[in-house]
């Protein structure tokens, strides 16, 4: 068994760059794959690492100029592995046995390299299990390593302590992964979630790329998930039972909310200044209404002169505000405060998916997400401080999921939005982000560096890849792995929640079988097994 797994021996390398392994003649380069795990049997320690590059070598350069007659199978067989050979580049990341610390505390990060000619084997199931753990009440099974059946598990308690990111080109399975992660958090109860669901995919159900219906959170966890909606009609048409219809009053929109929309509303710097002046003039509660109520006339001109606002600035601002006014979910005053409602649900441990329905344009999304998050964050901050002062239970960890994150977290606005703040201050107030984006290069590098765990599907733009890998050791090795991912169902996970970077084939989601695994036993256990089978039909 071990004989078959044997790949070769370590011939050179360094701690920073990884080690070079010469393949045995029995191991074909064509069977290797970047991202696959190997173990290295050093003299004193066992190392665990990942293949990051594969190359060909010849013993004598003359061979490349006058290649031998390899049409003869005998000659080809003799030369393979001797005069011509394959090498793989392995990045050892952990030690998984041999010294005292590893025996007591489990895998440790490497501080040295294996000695010359240490034997390199393909990692066995047990080795991978040792590193990535097995499913338990904290760990959630997210997928399997390449060509292996072992489960790769994420430590969700660790995961929610920091902000996390899911990146990937459009169509590579970001939504799919997000849904999986959210389910994990629901299943393990490590945090409550607030999902700003731009395309209404996470609440009730959605469709996979093949057009198959896929169940989403509420169908799987009816008692733990509430669907809020901005667009009642759309929800009704899709036969989604909603728990609350969100309406936002003009009096709730503060100048800061408008500042954030600067880009989408095409506001000038002067207009942004004018917003504050108007707010001071009319009061923070009714400035929008009052501004929108201004009529073209002598009085308005006088007011503008008084406030020192240029007419063109006013025009620019006015056009912007008109765009906002056209959003149907905004009302002059709302009887029910959505922030209060959201907090009520979150306090009861119920996760919220806020569907945007038809309002998928970015203005609505940024406005609502930012507005709600800011207030919720403020509440959390207050409670957290009280909890520390009065020594009472801290509020439940909250994970806010946002899509199109580069619109909130680009370098121009990251310092102003609440999301920038949450990402930076991290877990201090028990609020973290789950950022979903297809253009990570658009995200402020400061925010990017604070993201704890990154789950990355295929990216092919160099700038995006660079941005995802900022601050990661052995960047160039991971880069080659990342750009070679398959376009579906494969993701590279690295960061806080996993002991080392890992390429996974994400677990199945969407079939009746797969749903069963997600449901906690107390919810699924009640009806007889047979009934469940029927339910899934």
């Amino acid at each position: 068994m071990t004989e078959n797994r044997r790949l070769g021996i370590v011939v050179s390398g360094s701690l920073t760059k990884g080690v070079e392994v010469k393949l045995n003649s029995s191991a074909s380069v064509e069977d290797m794959a970047v991202g696959r795990f190997v173990t290295i049997e050093g003299q004193k320690r066992r190392f665990f690492g990942m293949i990051t590059d594969i190359s060909l070598g010849v013993i004598d350069q003359k061979l490349t100029i006058t290649p031998p007659d390899t049409s003869d199978p005998f000659i080809a067989e003799v030369l393979a592995g001797t005069s011509t050979y394959g090498t793989i580049h392995v990045l050892p990341t952990l030690t998984i046995g041999g010294d005292v610390a590893t025996m007591i505390e489990g895998p440790q990060s490497v501080k040295t390299v294996p000695s010359h000619f240490s034997v390199v084997n393909l990692a066995s199931q047990q080795d991978v299990e040792l590193v990535f753990g097995s499913e338990d009440e904290k760990k959630f099974y997210i997928g399997t390593p390449l060509d292996m059946e072992t489960k790769v598990c994420l430590d969700l308690t660790e995961l929610v302590k920091r902000s996390n990111g899911i990146f990937g080109k459009s169509g590579t399975g970001k939504t799919f992964l997000t849904r999986l992660l959210l389910i994990g958090m629901l299943q393990k109860g490590t945090a409550v979630n607030l999902v700003f669901d731009m395309h209404s995919e996470y609440g009730w159900e959605s469709r996979s790329e093949e057009g198959r219906k896929v169940k989403a959170l509420k169908q799987l966890f009816p008692s733990k998930v509430a669907v809020f909606t901005l667009d009642e009609e759309s929800s009704r048409r899709r036969r989604v039972s909603t728990d609350f219809v969100v309406r936002i009053g003009y009096d709730e929109i503060e100048p800061e909310d408008i500042v954030l929309l600067r880009q989408t509303l095409n506001l000038t710097d002067a207009s942004v200044q004018a917003v504050y002046q108007l707010a001071r003039e009319f009061g923070y509660k009714r400035w929008i209404e009052a501004t929108l109520a201004l009529e073209d006339g002598e009085e308005t001109r006088e007011l503008l002169t008084k406030l020192n606002i240029h007419e063109s600035t006013y025009g620019n601002l006015r056009r912007g505000l008109e765009t906002i006014r056209r959003l149907p979910f905004l009302e002059s005053h709302t009887p029910d405060n959505p922030v209060k409602r959201i907090l009520e649900y979150l306090d009861r441990g119920i996760n919220i998916v806020l569907e945007f329905g038809r309002y998928t344009d970015i203005t609505a999304y940024i406005l609502v997400a930012n507005l709600l998050s800011r207030r919720i964050h403020a509440q959390y901050q207050e409670r957290m401080e009280r909890a520390i002062g009065e020594d009472i239970a801290q509020p439940r960890p909250l994970v806010i999921t946002i899509e199109e994150a580069h619109k909130f977290l680009n370098p121009d606005v990251a310092s102003q939005t609440i999301f920038g703040t949450i990402a930076r201050e991290m877990r201090k107030y028990n609020v973290t982000l789950l950022v979903i984006d297809q253009r990570p290069s658009g995200i402020d590098s400061e925010v990017m560096s604070q993201i704890g765990t990154k789950i990355t599907c295929l990216l092919d733009n160099d700038r995006d890849i660079d941005s995802v890998l900022t601050g990661v050791p052995n960047k160039s090795e991971l880069k080659s792995v990342l750009s070679k991912l398959e376009s579906r169902q494969q993701a590279l996970i690295f960061g806080h929640a996993v002991p080392m970077p890992v390429v996974v084939r994400t677990r199945e989601y969407g079939s009746a079988e797969s749903y069963k695994d997600f449901i906690p036993s107390e919810e699924a256990g009640k009806p007889a097994e047979k009934d469940i089978e029927e339910l899934w039909e």
Binding site: I59, D60, K62, T66, P68, F74, E77, V78, L79, T82
Partner: protein, 200 residues
């Protein structure tokens, strides 16, 4: 050692040095094939050699054989009509020492002492060949020897001979080929020449 008597005795050492020995065959023309593994004893040691050269000459170096077949119909007739020929000619072969067995332990390097004159020389059995070729260290001795025959010829002949002792000839040839590819890493032409002679 017990079955020494059963083994095929092919000659007797008539000249010996540290690196090689020359044996005379008991029968004319009965020298072992080029490249075959032979052994001789110098108790408690056994010396292994690889046949690199064979000659048949006149017994008396001063008297060269003369052509005799003018009136004979076949070549066999020549020997039949002059039976003394078999006694006046002799066949010899030279073997390069490639290893020895000391107290039952096989070593692929030169023995401390050369073979003794008049030691018997035996052809190795397939079992012995397989045992000896567990290690390919002897190839190095062959590669570095300065002999009248070319190294490529001798090595390929030796490998061809040895491979006959194996059931899976191909596996043996590939394994030895790989060893050669490593030894001859800097000399591709020689490698190609040998591989070309042993394949198939």
């Amino acid at each position: 050692m017990k079955n020494m008597a059963e083994m095929q005795r092919v000659g007797e050492v008539i000249e010996a040095s540290t690196t090689e020995f020359v044996a005379q065959c008991y029968e004319l023309y009965q020298s072992p094939p080029l490249g075959s593994l032979v052994k001789t004893r110098d108790l408690p040691m056994e010396l292994y050699g690889i046949v690199y050269n064979a000659t048949t000459t006149s017994l008396d170096p001063g008297r060269r054989p003369i052509a005799r077949g003018k009136d004979e119909a076949t070549e066999e007739e020549i020997y039949r009509s002059s039976p003394q020929l078999l006694k006046l000619l002799r066949s010899e072969f030279g073997a390069l020492v490639v290893g020895h067995k000391d107290n039952g332990k096989l070593r692929h390097y030169l023995p401390p002492r050369p073979a003794r004159i008049h030691s018997f020389v035996y052809q190795c059995t397939p079992d012995e060949i397989r045992e000896f070729s567990q290690s390919f260290d002897f190839l190095n001795i062959l590669l570095n020897a300065h002999l009248p025959v070319s190294t490529e010829e001798l090595i390929s002949a030796c490998i061809r001979q040895m491979s006959q002792a194996y059931e899976d000839r191909h596996a043996f040839l590939v394994a030895v080929g790989k060893e050669l590819a490593i030894l001859l890493g800097g000399n591709l032409n020689q490698l190609k020449a040998i591989l070309g002679r042993i394949k198939g």
